[in-house]
């Protein structure tokens, strides 16, 4: 990466993973272009967290795009299906794709990131996916990210003119939730700004029982750090 092009588009949900990915991008000297989506998710209050995070990270810009995924449906996050709740992390289904999976969500997110990166002439997109403590979503795996990067480099001007190659960076891919949080704390991340819950209440308090809350709790426990989240 040349120093003449240190712009990075960072996909930001306002959660732990994307916030840590953003902190890593910042620590490497990138100018941050934060990208968030309102996609009809029931937890759209996460956008407020993403705003606070972008501000705390001195993002050059925080672009919030509206997506029409509600009309496509197929997920407990965008359709009228209850978000599954559990009493303990032992109940997180292993190897199954849960109801909260949103069809092609990361592909749609990355594709908007790709468009913005091309306009900004940014050479990198950061995405906070992890294949360790994750929800079993197919679009979080390294083989998917690699295939996306290959496609992306054929999709844009760069694929024709041989300009800057786009890199999709996934610095959390091999980290557990606890390791992600420890990494973020080392980089000075204030996790009280972040929100993980799929089904927060009207006041923005986390439910404490959805997949995402359970992964978050487990992470703080593993990291040996007090969880600053306000639960119901």
């Amino acid at each position: 990466m040349s120093t003449t092009n240190k712009k990075a588009v960072v996909l930001s949900s306002g959660g732990i993973d994307s916030t840590t990915a953003m902190a890593i991008a910042k620590s490497e000297g990138y100018t941050i272009y934060s990208l968030s989506f309102r996609y009809g998710q029931r937890h759209s209050v996460e956008i407020e967290s993403a705003r606070k995070v972008a501000k705390a990270m001195d993002a050059a810009e925080h672009l919030i795009l509206d997506l029409d995924l509600g009309k496509i449906g197929g997920s407990a996050l965008t359709a009228n299906i209850d978000v599954p709740k559990h009493d303990s992390t032992e109940e997180l289904a292993a190897g199954e794709i849960p109801l909260t999976y949103v069809p092609a969500r990361n592909t749609i997110f990355l594709s908007h990131g790709l468009a913005w990166a091309e306009v900004l002439k940014a050479g990198v997109i950061f995405i906070g996916v992890t294949a360790v403590d994750y929800s079993g979503y197919p679009d979080c795996r390294p083989e998917y990210i690699n295939a996306y990067e290959k496609m992306a480099n054929l999709a844009t001007r760069a694929g024709v003119t041989g300009e800057t190659r786009l890199k999709i960076r996934t610095p959390l891919m091999k980290l557990s939730k606890g390791e992600i949080i420890r990494r973020g704390i080392d980089l000075g991340v204030d996790y009280s700004l972040t929100l993980s819950c799929y089904d927060p209440d009207q006041k923005g308090r986390s439910c404490g029982k959805c997949d995402s809350c359970l992964h978050r709790k487990k992470g703080f426990k593993e990291a040996g750090i007090t969880d600053p989240t306000v639960y119901v």
Copy 2:
């Protein structure tokens, strides 16, 4: 393709290419799920053409999604940049990517198609791209489509569970505009329903001078068929 899954998502702009691709899908026995986008294009009247086409083709559904590409910009079609006009097809720039290129547009379109295909359990997406009489857009080339298909099959449930593989079909890839029109006429397409112009007037009449109008005129001329388009 088994006969138990003959659903096809067809990306439809209401123009000649996507309409012909839809006619081909229909002729192969697919049930048509037409997908169009309002993305801030100045020629959003094309959506009306897409509606007429979906009706004429007996589509099972015509989903119209709103995209927020205007905020990303970077194109004469979505930003405040004039659409280039020409007096003859000789002026169409060869080998250059024109101002009307919308960054990552086909990637964003296909990604929504991918999401919908997953929800519908459709095994095929048809897209009317062509690498012959085209505008030099990088996301119309076969190497791009092949890379997209590989990525798509890792992005969704199918990539994990080994369910139906998704196929991206590009039946027009090697056809000239004239050949596309002849193919469509053979299949009974009524091209008076379609609109190609990037910059139509308030009454929906085509400008006759943008890249897309010139390709359309050239196509009808080559096909030896009277152009039913109403030009300004």
